[in-house]
């Protein structure tokens, strides 16, 4: 119950003000089609430089939580998911809005999000310290395999092609080696003065997540967001609460599915929402109503995608392995404040980590309250022309990247990586494994080198990295994730071929 000891820190004027700012800002940005939670959090990192680590993380955590929930606004009112996590919400949410139940759909989505989110954060609170204690047993070889696991799991599960996912991860790992070698001080792959000090993670994150979205907006040409905004009628909030609590099955399925999926690195909110929706439909006696504006569809999808947020931070805070791309960006936020997550985090920085986790707990309630208050109004951000959004994001990306180290090199790196990522994404590559490679690369290398030194002095390299049940367990998980993804890809290909043949 250590978290209760730090609960008061959330309510200091500055911390609570930042929590409010992150929550309201996140709701508005989340409701904006085209601005993903990952990109929003990446663009916010430069604003945390002047803040204490605790304050910066509270701001980023609040933005993470509320952008996922805010994405439901555009999913329901515009049929455009604000984030990939809200795809399942459009299925019934938008139909409800078309039937004149837009306010009800928004209210139940925020209430379900808050309930799922609270459960997820409680899991984070109770699981993290236990896992952190267990993780203390990890030596250099286990940490090396763990870093490789982080890259391969996200590379295989988060990508449409296993080979291209793994290749993206390799590109990230290679980018992480650019600069001066830590042990020998030797120059490695320094092909331009901008990267002489290595690739700074924050400009890279901004470039990889923000610039492709800017260019994608350019690609749509001179057009507004092509959607009709549905006018929201009034609906009593009490009735929405009764509606959510009368649909306990959907709420329980959504919360459980979201929590479990959140714990698996790389799977993410999009899958959580869709799996929860699918399971609720299968287990519901009213399964025929799904897709026709059934509240259970919204409740299952929204409780799942917010329940995923807390557990996705468990592997990050205990093992330094981000559970999702947004968690990877949060890892960048921790690193710039000199905080290295891992087993010792809770003993070294309890005054940072517990208020951060507690703020996510309070943030869920604030997100629900403000979501209910501003949901209808937030949909108006969709009226903002794409041109304005693209120009704003570009300006923030350039200023944000520069402000990291007051270096034009960081701006060049941001722009070059962003431009390359846009084209790579068009050819089936994914930013998430590349970012994971970039972030986990130094961890993997440091532990590999340390392990190699121990191995040379003791039992030999091969034996050291391939001995012990924990090493083998991690290796098996790496292989299993790759094998599973290849199997799924082959299965999908077979079905596609069959469908093509029938067509």
């Amino acid at each position: 119950m250590e978290f209760l000891y730090y609960m008061g820190d959330v309510f200091t004027p500055i911390n609570f003000g930042l929590l409010l700012l992150g929550t309201i800002g996140g709701l508005i940005l989340g409701a904006t089609p085209g601005l993903s939670p990952t990109m929003t959090v990446a663009l916010m990192i430069p604003f945390t430089f002047k803040l204490e680590p605790q304050q910066g993380l509270i701001l980023l955590g609040a933005a993470y939580t509320s952008t996922v929930a805010g994405g439901a606004v555009s999913a329901i009112l515009l049929k455009i998911p604000g984030a990939p996590a809200n795809i399942a919400t459009t299925l019934d949410g938008h139909t409800m809005a078309q039937k004149g139940e837009g306010a009800k759909a928004l209210q139940i989505s925020f209430i379900a999000s808050a309930i799922g989110g609270l459960f997820g954060v409680f899991l984070l609170i109770f699981l993290t310290p236990v896992l952190a204690t267990w993780a203390l047993a990890f030596g250099p070889s286990e940490l090396f395999w763990l870093a490789i696991l982080g890259v391969t799991v996200i590379g295989t599960l988060d990508s449409s092609s296993v080979v291209k996912g793994l290749l993206s991860g390799c590109i990230g790992l290679w980018l992480a080696t650019i600069g001066f070698d830590d042990i020998m001080g030797a120059q490695r792959f320094i092909f331009h003065s901008s990267v002489s000090g290595g690739i700074n993670v924050i400009p890279a994150l901004i470039g990889l997540f923000a610039i492709p979205q800017v260019i994608a907006m350019f690609a749509k040409g001179r057009s507004n967001v092509d959607a009709e905004i549905i006018v929201v009628q009034r609906h009593p909030i009490g009735a929405a609460f009764r509606e959510v609590f009368s649909r306990k099955r959907a709420l329980a399925i959504g919360t459980a599915v979201g929590s479990i999926i959140g714990l698996i690195p790389g799977v993410g909110g999009q899958i959580a929402g869709l799996v929860a929706y699918d399971q609720s439909k299968k287990m519901s006696p009213e399964s025929a109503k799904f897709g026709t504006g059934h509240p259970e569809g919204v409740i299952a999808a929204e409780s799942a995608n917010n329940a995923m947020v807390g557990p996705s931070l468990v592997p990050l805070l205990t093992l330094s392995i981000p559970g999702s791309p947004t968690a990877a960006v949060l890892l960048g936020g921790l690193l710039i404040h000199g905080i290295f997550p891992g087993p010792a985090l809770f003993t070294q920085y309890p005054e940072v980590v517990w208020p951060f986790i507690n703020s996510m707990l309070v943030g869920q309630i604030l997100m629900c309250v403000f979501g209910l208050l501003i949901a209808g109004w937030a949909a108006n951000v969709a009226r903002v022309p794409r041109a304005v959004m693209a120009a704003v994001v570009l300006g923030l990306a350039v200023f944000g990247s520069y402000s990291v180290g007051h270096s034009m090199g960081d701006v060049y790196v941001m722009a070059a990586l962003g431009l390359a990522m846009y084209f790579l994404e068009r050819f089936g590559f994914s930013a998430a494994p590349l970012v994971l490679g970039l972030i986990l690369g130094p961890i993997a290398e440091a532990n590999f080198m340390q392990g190699a030194m121990i191995a040379n002095a003791t039992i030999g390299q091969m034996a050291y990295f391939f001995t012990g049940w924990l090493n083998w367990l991690l290796i098996l998980i790496v292989l299993a994730s790759i094998g599973y993804s290849i199997w799924m890809e082959l299965l999908q290909r077979r079905y596609t071929t069959k469908e093509d043949a029938q067509a």
Binding site: S160, K164, L167, C170, I171, W174, A186, V388
Partner: protein, 154 residues
């Protein structure tokens, strides 16, 4: 294979394979060798996967990635050129605030669907640009104290 001409996949995967092979070559030839132990490990897998992807593209067996169609390319090209000039030249040479103002206004003009013939449209664009720049100045210059390169007009 998708509808996309195979050439696009070949060019992209070929470029990545070239990078992968170059990285592997440098890793295995540069000194001191001890500094390149980990890069060698990565570069080997990188090069193998990149060559695999390239061969698949050559054989026309690429399954994912829709590429860039002509219309998208025509749409994005002006914005892309403005972005590159902004990031790689104008921000440093003209100063951040001057360059951002010009870039922001040009991008609005290029991509805002409102008709160019109406004076109201232009006034709106000027006001949006001014509003955005005021927010950026407030955030970065006043709140975060970010010292940007000297402005050309200052």
């Amino acid at each position: 294979m998708t509808d996309l001409p195979r050439t696009q996949h070949i060019i992209t995967s070929g470029a990545i394979a070239a990078v992968g092979i170059t990285v592997a070559y440098i890793s295995y030839t540069q000194e001191p060798a001890a500094a390149f132990v980990f890069p060698r490990l990565i570069a080997t897998v990188f090069a193998l996967l990149a060559i695999w992807t390239f061969v698949k593209a050559l054989l026309g067996r690429t399954k994912v990635g829709q590429g860039v169609n002509g219309q998208d390319m025509r749409n994005l090209l002006p914005g892309l050129v403005v972005t590159l000039i902004y990031a790689f030249w104008a921000a440093k040479e003209l100063g951040f605030y001057t360059a951002t103002t010009i870039t922001f206004f040009i991008l609005l003009t290029l991509y805002d669907p409102a008709p160019h013939t109406e004076a109201k449209t232009w006034i709106k664009r000027v006001l949006i640009t001014a509003g955005f720049m005021a927010v950026m100045y407030g955030l970065f210059a006043m709140l975060l104290n970010v010292y940007t390169p000297r402005e050309i007009f200052s």
